[in-house]
């Protein structure tokens, strides 16, 4: 097979020369010797690492799982990334055994072969489950020769659109259900005895083998990879391409990139490296502090990360601990990690100098198809755990194992009992459970284990279930409800139980009660779920409740409209349920309640905010009528806003609205008049035109009112609007006014708008003056091409042209406009591709001359915009991929190419989406949400833009990167080389690996304060720095990769007597009030302002009592600290998260 593979490669190579853009040269391949790889490990103090198995026993492991006999099953693929033409499917399942107990595998058996890029496996139920591309197989060895001789296709129809996203990570949950995952590009259509199940994009599947029922547990994530259950049955996933750390997985949870998602949840630690396999440590071989911690593989950064979770609200916050393992060997690719039968930690090393096949050629010769290793990490001075006999043990021996302090033992005891069947186990299990002392926590957990065993036997008992429900421990209660999520049909008084659950003091119990309500899908369970609103809500609870109300509206709205639902008399619950639906009839009911005075001011605000995108003509007319009678101007503005939204994209124009709008224009409240001006346009109230014309002509008038007048007049249209805009363009000289007139002309007279814009660009001198007009113009689909023509013969300053090119490129507009601007401004950009020789020369220079520290300074230059779009760890922009471990995954030539020609390779999830609307507008940026009703994109200015689906004329993935070409054109070669060197070091062992400490990395830095701002602080007090009521000149700022804040980058001391400080600020968010301990690397002359409290003497470690919500903390480096150049702030203790 191996030889054949190379032969195939040579043939391909001869037919067509390797694409010139591909990485070339085999020079930076590390040594594949086991000893070389072993020597490169950085092992934590007190631990040691040895090879458990390597080639030729195994090659290219993808997933591994143990069996009850202590054998390690490994699925491997030498075929990845793509089968060679004519090659047979030849991938294998290998079983490894350490028969003499010396910690090294000494026996390997090929259990199955002829597989086609299999990416997951788990032994169980007397055979082996294998994910084999489109199919989930069950393989069995019926004659005991150690090889599979029976192959059953259990499920088929899984997508294969990308071989590193195929069905993978097979895992038994504590209830004996089987879980498996798929990733972003996979679309699956699976026929089951319960109907077809479809899953688009990433997600977690849940399968009960004995009933063959297959359901989706959770959707989304880019490449959900690791998946594991903790001691209490809660589940967690990692993402191999997302960067938000550990994700809490519960029924109906939806994460980023799930197609059609109306709302998504976030991971627990944004800015983390991407993670593959996940394990939860629970074995006395590891020290006490390691118990219940999460270990997951950062295959890009050649290391294994470590996290600790702490309950927070209904979910968790995660704290990163020091790495479990790191390596300086670039081919070390940890992809799976599992505790072994001896308590040691086994790490599957896929071994490859390069990863990915989206960005590196399928047939790149540096791709390793041969090697693969399993490493064994153990604590030096701690005894290994004994290998217990589980396979074949009697029920009476297995039951006490459920009380083991080893996860491994409990898990295999449960699976072994499952295999014995209900008839053999139920009775002895009942007797064993009866003997537990439920006053002890350990026995309460054992009781839960007993309930899980019954689930594994598919033999639910309401009595047993009630016994765990009675345990006064939120963790057990939550687990009980998880069981109920599969068994609610079998519990008679389930709704009574759910009412208890939804009112529980613990938010996670409430979340699980809500999940079960969501599954039952009845009006009565909607009412139960809504009872959660009577206590504090958090993100997962609100996410789920909104989803239930919205997605099940067809099931409960008829009952509500029939008067059969009362929400226990709570207007809060009614408002929440109805506004979540987004249905017009729901808002009609809400307006009725509003006019009857049944809603509070806050509730009315909520209703009006959501009304615009739901109303039809009838309901909009009801609202317009109400608005005309409304006395409270704040409320009236909210009503008019709703009417604007309804009339805008959705064309819902109330009947008879024209009669009311003239009155609104006359109101003294500017906000009402301004809304009125827009509605004049939307509702075509021609009689109001003169008022708007008057306002637009007065350049001294407030900007908002003039913008509204422009919009109104543009919508009224006609020759009089057109000539007015053109006349005012010539008369009014300020950039803002001229941009306004160009915008007004854009729809009705695009050519004229383009001509005027070209004149404008030729007239202005400075780059700053470009943005207003260009920004407006780039929103249109037609205008860029027209502007290109209008620029013919015009001369622009180079600065103006360069800025215009940059703005256009960031919005995905290239072609004629870019060329015309270049010509008009005589701009030269260094955006050409390099010849192979030039590339090789540059790669060599990066290695010999590049300096990563200098490179970091280049990276931080504002005009390069790196930090605007990219984060390193949790600090920086979110438009582009996180660069935290880019050096670990990307070859140097790839980095150079990506800087010079960003469109060549684009990371999944970062493709720019371009949307043209029916009204000719263009939106481009990263896709944030794509729900059935609307699309939200993050534009290049990091603003969210919502486009209603009904308005979309076309939507496409742009082949052009959001990163403009030529950003580095201003750099000298040495600076460029330093920058590449810096990027290539990111995530690798050394100075540029983001430390797992919880350091504050996202800051705001104070730029020069004017006298008024300084006076304000001096008169009112330092605490105003932490309030946003007075706009201070804060600018976004981040720490260095080391976590240190470069205080010396801040502007000169502010003229603020007596401190004369440099000022920076960060914000901490708390889910609930609590203690937080901060550590500061320097304290001399440092003043801390926490909320409105001032600390003039700051200890190196300071404990703070923070309230729930966000607290701003300002740091003043005073005169006394003038020699301070670096400051590091660490969150030592407490459940605080740094807010961006």
């Amino acid at each position: 097979m191996k030889n054949f593979g190379w032969l195939g490669l040579m043939v391909v190579g001869m037919v067509a020369p390797m694409n010139a853009a591909q990485p070339r040269g085999l020079t930076d391949i590390p040594s594949a010797e086991v000893e070389a790889e072993k020597a490169a490990f950085v092992v934590p103090e007190g631990f040691e690492i040895e090879l458990f198995a390597g080639e030729p026993m195994i090659q290219k492991p993808v997933q591994m799982n143990w069996d009850a006999q202590g054998r390690l099953w490994v699925v491997s693929s030498t075929t990845y990334p793509h089968i060679e033409v004519g090659a047979a499917a030849a991938d294998q399942v290998v079983v490894l055994e350490d028969t003499d107990g010396d910690g090294k595998a000494d026996k390997s058996t090929v259990f199955a072969e002829g597989l086609h890029i299999p990416t997951g496996l788990i032994p169980g139920d007397g055979g082996l489950y294998v994910a084999n591309s489109t199919e989930l197989l069950f393989l069995k060895d019926t004659n005991g020769d150690g090889k599979a001789d029976e192959r059953t296709v259990l499920l088929s129809g899984f997508g294969t659109e990308d071989t590193h996203h195929l069905l993978h990570t097979l895992r038994f949950g504590p209830e004996g259900l089987l879980y498996f995952l798929q990733s972003i590009y996979i679309h699956s259509h699976v026929e089951t005895p319960y109907g077809v199940r479809r899953l688009m994009g990433g997600g977690v599947w849940e399968f009960r083998p004995e009933t063959r029922r297959l359901e989706t547990l959770s959707k989304g994530l880019i490449n959900p990879w690791g998946f594991e259950f903790d001691r209490w049955g809660q589940s967690f996933a990692t993402d191999g391409a997302g960067s938000e750390g550990i994700n809490f997985i519960f029924p109906f949870s939806v994460f980023a990139t799930s197609p059609g998602a109306s709302r998504v949840l976030r991971g627990m630690s944004p800015g983390q490296p991407k993670h593959s396999g996940l394990e939860i440590i629970e074995d006395p071989h590891f020290p006490e502090s390691w118990q219940q911690t999460l270990v997951c593989c950062d295959f890009r950064g050649n290391r294994v990360n470590h996290f600790q979770l702490e309950r927070s609200g209904s979910s968790y916050i995660s704290k990163q601990l020091p790495d479990v393992l790191a390596s300086t060997h670039r081919a070390f690719r940890p992809i799976d990690v599992k505790t072994g039968p001896d308590g040691a930690l086994y790490i599957a090393d896929w071994y490859n100098p390069i990863i990915q096949h989206g960005e590196v050629d399928f047939r790149d010769p540096r791709r390793d198809h041969v090697n693969g290793r399993i490493w064994r990490l153990k604590a030096k001075d701690r005894p290994l755990s004994p290998k217990l006999k589980i396979a074949g043990a009697a029920t009476a021996e297995l039951l006490p194992m459920l009380q083991s302090d080893r996860r491994w033992v409990r898990q295999f005891a449960r699976l072994e009992l499952r295999q014995k069947g209900a008839d053999a186990v139920v009775e002895p299990l009942g007797a064993w459970v009866a003997g537990l002392d439920l006053t002890k926590e350990a026995d309460q957990h054992a009781l839960l284990e007993g309930a899980w065993v019954r689930e594994g036997l598919n033999s639910f008992s309401p009595e047993v279930w009630r016994s765990i429900w009675k345990v006064n421990d939120a963790r057990v209660k939550a687990a009980a409800l998880r069981i109920l999520s599969h068994r609610w049909k079998e519990l008679e008084d389930v709704e009574t139980v759910l009412k208890e659950g939804i009112q529980d003091a613990d938010p996670q119990v409430r979340l699980w009660a809500m999940s079960v309500c969501a599954l039952i899908r009845k009006p009565s369970t909607i009412e139960i779920a809504l009872m959660a609103l009577e206590q504090t809500m958090d993100e997962p609870l609100d996410f789920l409740l909104e989803q239930i109300c919205r997605d099940q509206a067809d099931r409960w709205m008829p009952a509500f409209l029939d008067g059969k639902m009362t929400f226990g008399g709570s207007s809060k619950q009614m408002v929440y349920a109805l506004r979540s639906t987004g249905r017009a009839d729901a808002f009609s009911a809400l307006f009725a309640a509003m006019s009857e005075g049944r809603l509070s001011a806050e509730e009315i605000g909520v209703v009006l905010k959501a009304a615009g995108s739901a109303m039809d003509v009838k309901v909009a007319t009801e609202l317009a009528q109400m608005a005309s009678e409304e006395k409270d101007s704040v409320r009236k503005v909210a009503m008019l806003d709703a009417l604007i939204v309804a009339a805008g994209a959705r064309k819902m124009v109330p009947e008879g609205g024209v009669n009311w709008v003239a009155d609104w224009l006359k109101e003294d409240v500017p906000a009402v008049a301004e809304r009125g001006a827009q509605l004049v346009g939307f509702w075509k109230a021609e009689s109001c035109r003169p008022v708007l014309e008057g306002w637009l002509g007065r350049s001294n008038l407030g900007g908002e009112l003039r913008i509204a007048s422009m919009k109104g007049l543009a919508m009224l249209g006609g020759e009089s609007s057109k000539s007015l805009f053109d006349r005012l363009f010539r008369e009014q000289k300020d950039p803002a006014s001229r941009a306004l007139m160009v915008e007004g002309l854009m729809q009705m007279a695009p050519q004229l708008a383009a001509n005027r814009a070209a004149e404008y660009l030729a007239e202005v001198q400075a780059a700053e003056q470009v943005a207003p007009v260009m920004g407006v113009l780039l929103q249109s689909k037609k205008l860029p091409a027209l502007l290109a023509g209008a620029l013919e013969g015009k001369k622009l300053t180079t600065a103006v042209a360069a800025e215009a090119i940059r703005m256009a490129a960031t919005r995905g507009i290239t072609g004629p406009l870019g060329d015309a601007l270049k010509k008009a401004g005589r701009v030269k950009q260094m955006d050409r591709a390099l010849s192979p020789e030039e590339m090789a020369g540059l790669v060599a220079k990066v290695a010999s001359e590049g300096n990563a520290h200098r490179g970091e300074a280049v990276y931080r230059r504002k005009q390069l915009l790196c930090m605007t779009c990219h984060a390193i760890g949790d600090a920086g922009g979110v438009l582009g991929p996180n660069l935290v471990s880019i050096g670990g995954s990307a070859p140097v030539d790839y980095l150079i190419e990506s800087l010079l020609d960003p469109s060549k390779k684009i990371k999944e999830g970062y493709h720019m989406v371009m949307i043209s609307t029916k009204s000719g507008q263009v939106f481009s940026g990263g896709l944030v949400k794509d729900s059935p009703s609307e699309v939200v994109i993050r534009d290049p200015a990091n603003q969210m833009q919502t486009v209603l689906k009904a308005e979309i004329a076309s939507q496409q993935m742009s082949p052009v990167s959001m990163m403009p070409a030529g950003l580095t054109a201003s750099l000298r070669e040495d600076e460029f080389v330093d920058l590449v060197r810096f990027l290539s070091e990111l995530g690798r062992e050394g100075d540029f690996k983001v430390s797992p400490k919880r350091l504050v990395r996202t800051w705001q830095g104070m730029s020069v304060m004017d006298q008024a701002a300084v006076d304000h602080v001096r008169h009112v007090g330092l605490h105003v720095l932490n309030e946003d009521s007075y706009a201070m000149p804060w600018e976004p700022w981040t720490s260095l990769v080391s976590g240190e804040l470069p205080i010396d980058e801040l502007v000169t001391a502010q003229k603020m007597y007596p401190w004369f400080p440099k000022i920076a600020r960060f914000r901490l968010k708390m889910a609930a009030s609590g203690q937080v301990k901060l550590g500061l690397s320097a304290v001399k002359g440092v003043v801390l302002v926490v909320g409105n409290e001032i600390f003039k003497e700051v200890p190196a470690e300071i404990s703070l009592s923070l309230p729930a919500g966000v607290t701003a903390i300002s740091v003043l480096a005073t005169k006394e600290a003038s020699d301070l150049s670096r400051l590091q702030v660490e969150i030592l203790e407490g459940a605080a998260e740094v807010q961006p």
Binding site: V12, V15, A16, N19, P81, H82, I83, E84, V85, G86, A88, A89, I117, S133, T134, T152, V153, L154, S156, G157, G159, T160, E161, D162, T163, L166, Y185, H187, S188, H189, V190, E191, T192, P193, Y194, G195, V196, R197, R198, E210, T211, R212, P259, H357, G358, E359, D361, F362, R363, N458, S903, K904, K905, I906, E908, H911, M957, P959
Partner: protein, 315 residues
């Protein structure tokens, strides 16, 4: 309409099962030398390639005539193209199918669609039939003289608990069978009744000797019977050949189907032909390289067929 004695039906009130009208009018389907046969549908058709039961029997039944068979079925597919679409709506799936039809230019298309209606109910039957007609038109638009064989989905089985009782679902399939028979007639297509041929409406209770793995998906023995029913349903007679010859033929068909699967439904579509082809699209050049290998396998299938028939005639 012929009435069918409800053999084994427990209750006298059980409705008898009328055979589909089209079945009675059935005459032998005329295969031409050089016909390009395409199988299409959902899982039941897709998994044919795991068992290779149909093509060997068809080849043997056709004697000297040479036809090729390609399986374009897809788990979970519908007449609307649900399973064939990736990032877009089902229509994208039909567009993808158009490209495959363009590539294969089939002269005979054997379709088995509609099994999902067993679970989704018959409310959507009118839309289903409209979609089916459009699907046939899609083929007609590419190959004017294309002939169709419409196959009714086979019955489901109620296996032992905890697997579900699928009686209600089978009732839906029974009605669907009748509707498909009429539809085939209206479309001038030949109709093959797999529902009836595989036992028709099962008697209430649990299936005694199941042919499916889970009540829904047939396995080896089931596919033998499905293939026989399809070939004989087309009015052909399958000659007896030796077990060894049959096994060799099946193996080669399986090999050809695997090559073709990697040709028409390759992995990594996102990079080869999808929206990331500007990155790794250069690898797509390998895909047509499967064609000569598939043709060579077709030739070997014919050689094995001739050898099998020759051996059989000597016996």
């Amino acid at each position: 309409m012929a009435c069918f004695e409800g053999a084994g039906f427990g209750q006298g009130t059980e409705p008898a099962q009328p055979a589909s009208p089209a079945v009675e009018k059935k005459k032998a389907f005329q295969f031409e030398d050089g016909d390009r046969v395409v199988l299409i549908g959902s899982t039941v058709m897709e998994r044919e390639q795991r068992y290779s039961c149909f093509e060997p029997r068809l080849a043997l039944a056709l004697g000297d005539k040479v036809v090729t068979v390609r399986n374009l079925a897809w788990s979970g597919d519908t007449v609307f193209g649900h399973a064939r679409s990736y990032f877009g709506p089902p229509q994208e799936g039909l567009d993808r199918l158009k490209a495959h039809v363009e590539l294969l230019k089939p002269t005979v298309v054997v379709l088995c669609y509609g099994s999902e209606l067993a679970f989704e109910g018959l409310a959507g039957l009118p839309e289903f039939l409209t979609g089916y007609r459009k699907l046939l038109d899609l083929f007609r638009a590419k190959v004017a003289e294309v002939r169709f064989v419409i196959v009714a989905p086979p019955p489901l089985e109620s296996l032992s608990p905890p697997l579900p009782d699928l009686e209600k679902q089978n009732r839906n399939l029974l009605s669907l069978r009748d509707a498909l028979g009429k539809f085939a007639q209206a479309q001038d297509a030949v109709f093959v009744d797999w529902f009836g041929a595989m036992g028709g409406m099962p008697k209430p209770g649990r299936t005694a000797n199941p042919l499916t793995e889970n009540g829904v998906h047939y396995q080896a023995k089931g596919y033998d019977r499905l293939a026989e029913a399809l070939v004989t349903g087309l009015g052909l007679k399958i000659p007896e050949v030796g077990q060894g010859e049959m096994a060799a033929l099946k193996k080669e068909v399986g090999h050809k189907d695997e090559l073709f699967f990697n040709r028409w439904r390759p992995q990594n579509e996102t990079y080869l032909f999808g929206f990331r082809k500007h990155e790794q699209g250069q690898n797509a050049k390998e895909i047509p390289m499967f064609d000569p290998l598939i043709e060579a396998a077709d030739k070997r299938i014919q050689e094995l067929k001739r050898a099998a028939l020759a051996t059989a005639s000597r016996l």
